[in-house]
């Protein structure tokens, strides 16, 4: 049998490229650099909420938190109390269970959460193994029992227990590489130094156990997880250069090197691990999120559970090196959900179709053959079980709980007092994370349902209330959103500006963009450098085709944040809508240069190139988009159009065949400016027994539920009336035929004046400008769509051909 290549997975919580790239450039992280030089590197996207136990469980399962069940930092212990999050709540198989089923031997060290350990094929040492005891007992180094169920097999306990390093064993000399002036310090009892010695001790223990197991045990897969970088960063990133005004100079001088020191220390540990493996071993180094180290560092931390997570940045690191993996290349589009599917692909094992992540095929040289199974959950093989725990290992749990309190992740409610309230509060908190997990996957209905259940008006929590309003807006429940905004205003839990922004989103959602813009501009006067606000405003201006206003907003964003890919993308859209294709191409390229995995930017770049008749470049771009967004029908329609124009018969046939499979049929749409002619056209079709879907009064300002991707399926007539402003929401799942009733904007203005009980011939310049803008926008949209079948009707008697 062919020898199985080994895989080493190293997890560095919150490792961030900005710090690493600076250190590598200075030659201070040689081990990681050697991997990158002979492997691939990329950003890895985190998920909301960016909380480590949830993320590392997603990493080990390929599934989102609402599937894997690990939520937050603590969980009910089943005995009326709470305990640190454990492996008991994980509902699905982790990669070490899958490997056990396949007879592959693993070492799993320090994974968060992994206590109690599982009886896998191999060894497992949990995240509680390195945990010291709480309070005064902490001082008694000699009385430090091994945490229950923290080692599998238990026969390893004797071999491993003396490898543990206690925080009291970390001398000032050991701290001096991080705080060079520590020996000169007067305040050597500083709490900050205690934190340093504690996490240095933890990291050293984890490293010692990992190297011991790698050296003394047979293994195919080793995963070692370090939480220390996250703790170092939360403790000391505010002292990282450059110094900001609010940071005391004395503290800054003392602690400015701690973060760099921590990264360098991790690189040294990595160097040791790399020295223990052969060239055929695949190595992956990964983090669950990044950490703001620049001007994006928050000045203060919100005083709410998990408040410190505000310091986390949305992208972590991904590095891979090994046989069959590309060398010296960047990869794009990785997510924490992709780690397990990628590990399975590397080991030639099947990927569960029920996993939310995908294998990162772009890391492999050549085509990687992938295998799939429905789910690992149904595989009838032994994958390991949780070790029984007789008692509740109180001392280590308490210390771990205290640690979470010290770090600001959970509230300090005295244990034993008001216990049931505390549990209720924790369950509520975990449900809040569950709701966030649903919302971040686009399941807004599920999220809203949970949020409404946990919301308690007697204890208003701005986080929950804000998410309710946002979910209500996303699901088009505007009355619900308004009801909550009224409550938030009354309870005074959010500032007026934030409420105005919410109100603006409602107005925009209800097709009153001008009112929304007015509100956003009002807030902008008070928050002139809010990037989010400027982006929102720019998007709305783009939606109503006010090119110059949109460009102004995005340019202001770029003044503050010159690397903002979304602002470049917004500028590209503004130019595209105004049919200024050359500038549009430039801005889309600017966006892609800064954020390569940005599928819609590539899509619009492809569309723009097609409109410029740069057919081959458009084909190349859209073929790439097809791999990024394989489910978007519009791309196939564009490619078909382009292959037809370039007379590529084989590809034309291929895309026709694909489209005939994925398109749901043809819809005939009737539309036009809302004047008398359109009204008569609809009436005349109706009189001839043509059933008009969505036949409500043309001038009734009804809101179509276009947020529902299947909104058009609600209408089943022979011909469907869709107001012109909704064309952008026509989903490419259908093929469309348009009947467009041509009318003069001036006549439509007269007609609408009459409806609004104004004198028919009175000149209404605003209305006329809106109508002209709408017509212009529609013509431009028609021009920019692939393969449209449009019949322009001047004389409605000619409608007979459609009967």
């Amino acid at each position: 049998m062919k020898k199985r290549n080994k895989v080493l997975l190293v997890g560095w919580d919150s490792a961030d490229w900005k710090v690493i790239d600076k250190l590598m450039a200075q030659g201070k992280m040689p081990a990681l650099k050697s991997l990158i030089d002979s492997g691939v590197r990329g950003k890895i996207a985190t998920m909301d909420p960016p909380l480590s136990p949830m993320l590392w469980t997603s990493m080990a399962t390929g599934k989102r938190p609402f599937k894997h069940g690990v939520l937050g930092f603590v969980e009910p212990d089943g005995q009326g109390g709470i305990r640190p999050v454990s492996s008991r709540y994980r509902k699905v198989k982790a990669v070490w269970n899958m490997l056990t089923m396949e007879g592959i031997k693993s070492n799993i060290v320090g994974w968060w959460p992994s206590n109690p350990v599982e009886s896998i094929n191999g060894c497992m040492v949990s995240n509680l193994f390195q945990q010291e005891k709480k309070g005064s007992e902490l001082l008694d180094v000699s009385n430090w029992p091994v945490a229950e169920a923290s080692v599998y097999p238990e026969s390893l306990i004797d071999q491993l227990k003396d490898l543990r390093v206690h925080p009291l064993e970390i001398s000032l000399n050991l701290i001096s590489p991080f705080v060079p002036d520590v020996l000169k310090m007067e305040r050597q009892e500083d709490q900050k130094l205690m934190i340093l010695s504690k996490f240095l001790a933890h990291a050293t223990t984890v490293h010692a156990v990992a190297t011991e197991l790698m050296e003394t045990q047979e293994w195919d897969f080793t995963a070692v997880y370090h939480d220390a970088l996250d703790h170092f960063s939360h403790g000391y990133m505010r002292f990282y250069p450059p110094r900001r005004e609010h940071v005391e100079k004395e503290d800054y001088d003392l602690y400015k090197n701690v973060v760099d020191g921590a990264y360098i220390f991790h690189d040294m540990m990595l160097e040791r691990l790399l020295g223990m493996i052969d060239n055929d071993t695949t190595v992956i180094v990964v983090s669950d999120h990044g950490f703001h180290s620049d001007h994006l560092r928050p000045i203060s931390i919100p005083k709410v559970p998990s408040g410190p997570a505000i310091e986390h940045a949305p992208y972590g690191i991904f590095v891979a090196k090994g046989p069959g993996i590309k060398k010296g290349e960047q990869i794009f589009g990785a997510s924490v959900l992709d780690v397990t599917p990628t590990l399975l692909a590397i080991m030639d094992l099947p990927i569960g179709k029920d996993m939310d992540g995908k294998p990162l095929t772009s890391i492999f040289e050549g085509e990687k053959e992938l295998k799939y199974i429905e789910s690992w959950e149904n595989v009838d093989k032994y994958g390991g079980e949780l070790l029984d725990t007789a008692n509740n290992q109180t001392s280590n749990n308490e210390a771990a709980l205290q640690q979470l309190i010290d770090l600001g992740y959970i509230d300090d409610v005295a244990q034993g007092e008001g216990g049931s309230d505390q549990i209720k509060a924790q369950i509520k908190e975990n449900n809040f994370y569950l709701a966030k997990s649903y919302a971040s996957a686009g399941f807004n209905e599920e999220s809203l349902e949970i949020l409404l259940e946990i919301e308690d008006k007697s204890k208003p929590d701005y986080r929950i209330l804000t998410d309710i309003v946002n979910c209500a807006i996303r699901t088009k429940r505007y009355n619900l959103a308004k009801e909550y905004i009224a409550f938030i205003r009354k309870a005074k839990v959010l500032g007026e500006n934030q409420l105005d922004i919410m109100e603006a989103k409602i107005q925009i959602g209800m097709n009153q963009p001008m009112e929304g813009i007015q509100l956003l501009n009002k807030v902008l006067k008070e928050m002139p450098d809010s990037i989010d606000l400027l982006m929102d405003l720019g998007r709305v201006y783009n939606a109503i085709q006010k090119k110059q206003n949109a460009l102004d907003c995005f340019n202001r964003v770029l003044n503050y944040d010159p690397e903002n890919a979304y602002a470049y993308y917004g500028k590209g859209l503004a130019y595209l809508r105004a049919e200024d294709y050359e500038n549009a191409v430039e801005e889309f390229l600017n966006a892609i240069e800064r954020l390569y995995h940005f599928p819609v930017a590539h899509l619009h770049l492809g569309e723009t190139l097609a409109l410029m008749k740069e057919y081959q470049a458009a084909i190349d771009t859209l073929e790439l988009v097809r791999t990024m967004m394989p489910r978007v029908t519009k791309i196939y329609r564009w490619l078909l159009d382009l292959y037809e124009v370039t007379e590529n018969e084989q590809k034309t046939r291929e895309y026709k065949a694909i489209l005939s499979k994925i398109q749901l049929g043809t819809k005939t749409i009737i539309s036009g400016l809302p004047g008398e002619k359109l009204f008569q056209a609809l009436e005349s079709l109706s009189n001839k027994n043509v059933h008009i879907g969505n036949s409500k009064d043309v001038f009734n300002s009804q809101v179509l539920n276009v947020m529902n991707p299947d909104w058009l399926s609600e209408y089943t007539g022979d011909v469907i009336y869709v107001p012109m402003q909704y064309f952008g929401a026509l989903n490419a799942k259908f093929e469309y035929k348009f009947i467009f009733i041509k009318d003069e904007p001036e006549q439509v203005m007269d007609y609408m004046n009459g409806l609004m009980k104004m004198r028919k011939s009175s000149f209404n310049p605003e209305l006329l400008a809106d109508l002209l803008n709408l017509e212009k926008g529609t013509m431009s949209w028609f021009n920019q769509q692939p393969n449209l079948d449009i019949s322009y009707i001047n004389d409605i008697r000619k409608l007979d051909v459609f009967v």
């Binding site: 008006k457 429940r477 909550y484």
Partner: protein, 185 residues
């Protein structure tokens, strides 16, 4: 095995009225009589205390085959799937339900009306999904139609349950003076 007849729907959607109809049709009712009639339901509620604990303990259902039991939405999700059921799902205009509940609880819930509207939409959706996914036969009985077109709605209900009761007997139960809170704003 005999089926259990479950009457479900949102609170104040006519579930008690449906229990009275079932009672009149001589189907035995699983009830403990603990909740007595009051001004909101002069004929009584036909409720079973144990239903409130169905999430943790649904063993009371073992006594239910051949009988009817009222379980408001979304609690049917906790039915014991080893048993057989037929479900009558009461529906009523949502605004009427909300107004009726507000009146019954004697509190001004207008400021929370949209919250409850949304929660109830979810409850209905979940309950229907449960019934469909588990192939449990059910019928929708619309309270508003029951009031204006009683005969037609009752015929539908009779057919679904194969009832022997005369239409006249059932019509007597549907007393319009119980159709309250309809136009109260």
């Amino acid at each position: 095995m005999e089926e259990i007849l479950v009457v479900t729907g949102l609170p104040r959607s006519g579930t008690s009225l449906m229990m009275q109809l079932i009672n009149r049709a001589n189907i035995p009712i699983l009830s403990d009589g603990k909740r007595e009639s009051d001004i909101s339901n002069p004929e009584g509620y036909y409720e079973l205390e144990a239903v409130k604990g169905i999430v943790a303990d649904n063993s009371f259902l073992k006594e239910a085959p051949g009988k009817a039991v009222k379980i408001v939405a979304p609690l049917p999700m906790y039915l014991d799937l080893k048993l057989k059921y037929k479900v009558v799902f009461m529906r009523r205009e949502m605004d009427e339900i909300l107004r009726s509940q507000e009146k019954m609880l004697q509190k001004d819930q207008i400021s929370e009306r949209e919250k409850f509207r949304t929660i109830y939409e979810f409850h209905l959706k979940k309950t229907y999904r449960f019934l469909l996914e588990n192939d449990i036969p059910f019928i929708d009985v619309n309270y508003n139609r029951l009031m204006v077109d009683s005969e037609k709605e009752l015929e539908k209900f009779k057919d679904f349950l194969n009832l022997n009761a005369s239409l006249q007997e059932l019509l007597e139960v549907v007393r319009p003076d119980l159709y309250r809170n309809r136009n109260e704003k």
